[in-house]
């Protein structure tokens, strides 16, 4: 019995589309890139700009490790194309500390031991920055709900909530 295991549903051999130039502002600096149409913002940051602080945990919007701030709003950078972000202001974990001084959330994450392996941490912190800017979470229960898009397999959740509460109090 033969079974066709090809992955592509249509089997069309496509010619490679032209790369596209895109200009972004990343951590307050303008950058110009030449990317494939299907280059995600995540891959653009990690592979093209060497900003590997933004993590790839699933590449499908299921874990939150790739969370960055676009125009101050938290999004999953794995589910948007770099070309779609033309002209956007993007803040990654590398852009949170200013002049060597940690962002209050970064300090709070250290203070409360809000991570273990550190791989979800960039996404957690960017997500928390977005959460604080939204101003919708006041109670621990609200923080838990609105931080549920960031999976921490090490299980640091209670410490993450405590860290965010500390940063909220100080901001």
């Amino acid at each position: 019995m033969t079974h066709s295991g090809t992955a592509a549903p249509t089997g069309r051999v496509a010619t490679m589309p032209e790369k596209i130039s895109v200009t972004l502002s990343v951590n307050r600096k303008p950058v110009r890139l030449l990317v494939a149409p299907w280059t995600t913002l995540l891959d653009a940051l990690r592979d093209h700009l060497d900003l590997t602080g933004t993590k790839k945990g699933c590449d499908h919007g299921q874990c939150g490790a790739c969370t960055v701030l676009v125009e101050g709003r938290r999004i999953n950078s794995c589910l948007t194309l770099a070309v779609m972000q033309e002209g956007a202001e993007i803040t990654t974990i590398e852009g949170l500390a200013r002049d060597g001084e940690l962002h209050p959330l970064q300090q709070a994450f250290i203070d409360h031991d809000a991570f273990q392996c550190g791989y979800c941490t960039s996404g957690q912190i960017c997500s928390a920055a977005g959460l604080i800017a939204e101003g919708r979470a006041k109670t621990a229960a609200e923080i838990r709900e609105l931080m549920s898009g960031n999976i921490c397999r090490c299980g640091a959740y209670p410490n993450i909530v405590a860290a965010i509460q500390q940063a909220m109090e100080r901001s």
Binding site: I75, L79, E134, R144, E145, S148
Partner: protein, 338 residues
Amino acid sequence: MIPFQYTRANDVADAIKQIATDPSAKFIAGGTNLIDLIKYDVAAPTRLIDISRLPLRNVEETATGGVLIGALVPNTDLAYHPVIEQRYPLLSRSILAGASQQLRNMASTGGNLVQRTRCFYFYDVATPCNKREPGSGCSAIDGINRINAILGTSDSCIATHPSDMCVALAVLEAIVHVVGPAGARNIAFADFHRLPGNTPQRDTNLEPDEIITAIELPPKGFSANYSYLKIRDRLSYAFALVSVAAALELEGDTIKEARLALGGVAHKPWRSSAAEAALLGQRADRAAFTKAADWLLHGAKGYGHNDFKIGLARRAIIRTLSQAARGTPQSISDKKIR
């Protein structure tokens, strides 16, 4: 994943023109579902037409007392819009019950309507699926079907529509504004999504060359007596096993109007006029809610792993109607179901 081209649409007319010239192209707005599907080789467009910059981001009250929501309004913005929070809190709560805040920040109102099923077999290109590959067979019927449908199924497909927002829009009887090559038309929400029948590859009655421009909410928002209850396998960031949107208009204890829809159980948000009629003029009590639940679940059929959904849905309907009648809608963050 196959390579694709990328173009940007300048306006709605340009978007329609672009898609007309390339039938294997797809519109992209928020991208949260489409990019996911492309990466899994479930969707294989040769071109993406970016409509995310079209001027469809307003939420405005209409002359007739309703609200017109631009198709590109992000889910979060819609959920937190003061008019929606005050007049249509059911819609707000249903949106916030779905996905994560990051995804809601990206996902568009129009895109939410056309998101595709989460059926495991639809997503796994190594298995037969009539929705993905018409005629290949439905693997879910005799497979892992815990998350699959119990209502309106066919021998070809038992997939569900995964949206939470759409369950509320069904209850609110929203109107979908679309534009295509032949001009603009409106689609009643009940007519927007389809049942699978023998064409499960078609989720909606939107034509491939049409674009959603807006969602119109009629004036009635049921802001006093409503609830959205979502039951899932973990307490957040998971798709519904069963969800219920309930909206009541009460005069004292008596039900003047009732709207009821289920999510996670069918190929579309599931309503039944008989269920809603059964509530009219009745006292808002458990007996009436039970009758409505029985009507709404009339003809429900399990496929093995999802048999429990019938009984679960029945109890969830009664509970949600009770919450709506009491005026104590289910909280999003307090996970206790009161």
